[in-house]
């Protein structure tokens, strides 16, 4: 029988740290996903993700069982990344590293198309200012509600809506631009 997140937390607080490994295993993907997409640098994202879990462990006593554990850990991840970005004082990070995903179980052609689509959306997300990027990731990828995001970022819900609204417009525009650039390059290749 699998323990719930809350049961695991209780288990750890009663002195059994092995329960934490299970929590890490459950939330490493969402936490790393946020860190990687926010920092766009694998090593840094790994370090930050580790920091997130260490913080979570340290402050586990403060976790409120009325909230979902997933929301709580995402809040820590969000704050850790935003702090890290502020410290670097970089607004939009350059796309010096492409976010790579595993696509082993699809046909070569589909894999190529998917890879292309992923590359485009990752680039578009990466070009958003961090405050907008985090909202998109939390809403569209982590499935958090407006209210949860407002709690996580400690901003009013109207601001969450506003940022998401603008971020979506920016995403659409940059996808359009990427498409045009790709077409233009293709034409140039054909001409030569």
């Amino acid at each position: 029988m699998q323990l719930t997140d809350a049961q695991l937390v209780t288990k750890i607080l009663r002195g059994d740290p092995t329960g934490f490994q299970e929590l890490v295993s459950r939330y490493q993907k969402p936490v790393f996903g946020i860190c990687y997409r926010m920092m766009r640098q694998r090593e840094e994202a790994e370090d930050l993700s580790q920091e997130v879990f260490i913080k979570a462990y340290r402050y586990l006593g403060q976790y409120n069982h009325e909230h979902k554990f997933s929301s709580w850990i995402l809040k820590i991840a969000t704050n850790t990344c935003i702090d890290a970005i502020r410290k670097k004082r970089v607004d939009t990070l350059p796309l010096d590293e492409e976010i790579k995903t595993n696509q082993e179980d699809v046909s070569a052609e589909r894999a190529f198309l998917q890879e292309e689509a992923h590359r485009e959306i990752e680039a578009a997300i990466g070009s958003l200012p961090p405050d907008y990027r985090i909202v998109v990731l939390l809403y569209h990828h982590q499935g958090q509600s407006y209210q949860q995001i407002a709690d996580q970022l400690e901003i009013p819900m109207s601001m969450v809506k506003n940022r998401l609204f603008r971020a979506r417009k920016m995403l659409k525009e940059s996808l359009k631009k990427l498409k045009e650039e790709t077409l233009w390059t293709a034409e140039q290749v054909q001409k030569s």
Binding site: R14, S25, Q28, K29, G33, S49, F53
Partner: protein, 194 residues
């Protein structure tokens, strides 16, 4: 419907299925407007891309590295330690209580000495009260921040026990203070202490 409303509906659509009323008018507009059809397709594409955003994996061994970095004893149960602390608590209450009684006794003698100067006057009563208050409470407020010394004396591991003890100590001192004041009132305000 105009193109602006149509655009708003497209963004709204990203939050979930549209209401029937919105849907109908919008579909009508789309069938008539090439510009909005194109835009709707772009929104659709963005929705799909966002929905298909893949999960990302940290490098192998991530869990292990996290587990190596945390303190496994952080939430370890310290039952025997607590039992010892409770014993220590009573010993300390005894020591501190006794010591404070001695201090109060000394304070009372000091008052008797003071009495010869201000005997029976209202000023005397005021001064005596302030004096007791400052001396007795003063000891408490002096001890409060001495946690380093306290830790060294007891090597206690929980912060809670410090506050429990200081709370008890405070209570003892307040009781002693009340007793001293009562003594004086019972002495009929003639300045005879004890």
């Amino acid at each position: 419907m105009d193109c602006r409303t149509s655009s708003e509906i497209m963004i709204k659509q990203m939050d979930g299925p549209l209401a029937e009323a919105d849907m109908q008018g919008w579909q009508q507009h789309l069938s008539a407007c090439t510009k909005c059809r194109k835009e709707a397709a772009e929104w659709q594409q963005l929705s799909v891309m966002l929905a298909r955003l893949p999960d990302l994996d940290p490098s192998p061994g991530f869990e292990r590295r996290v587990m190596a970095a945390i303190d496994p004893m952080r939430y370890a149960v310290r039952q025997p330690q607590h039992a010892m602390n409770l014993g220590m608590l009573f010993i300390w209450i005894g020591i501190v209580g006794g010591a404070s009684l001695l201090v109060v006794e000394a304070a009372a003698r000091m008052q008797q000495w003071m009495m010869t100067w201000f005997q029976g006057t209202a000023l005397y009563r005021l001064l005596a009260f302030v004096y007791e208050f400052v001396v007795i409470r003063g000891i408490f407020y002096f001890l409060m921040p001495q946690k380093g010394l306290w830790d060294w004396l007891t090597r206690w591991e929980t912060v809670d026990s410090w506050w429990v003890t200081m709370g008890t100590l405070n209570l003892v001192m307040v009781l002693v203070l009340i007793k001293v004041i009562l003594d004086r009132i019972l002495a009929g305000g003639r300045g005879e202490v004890r």
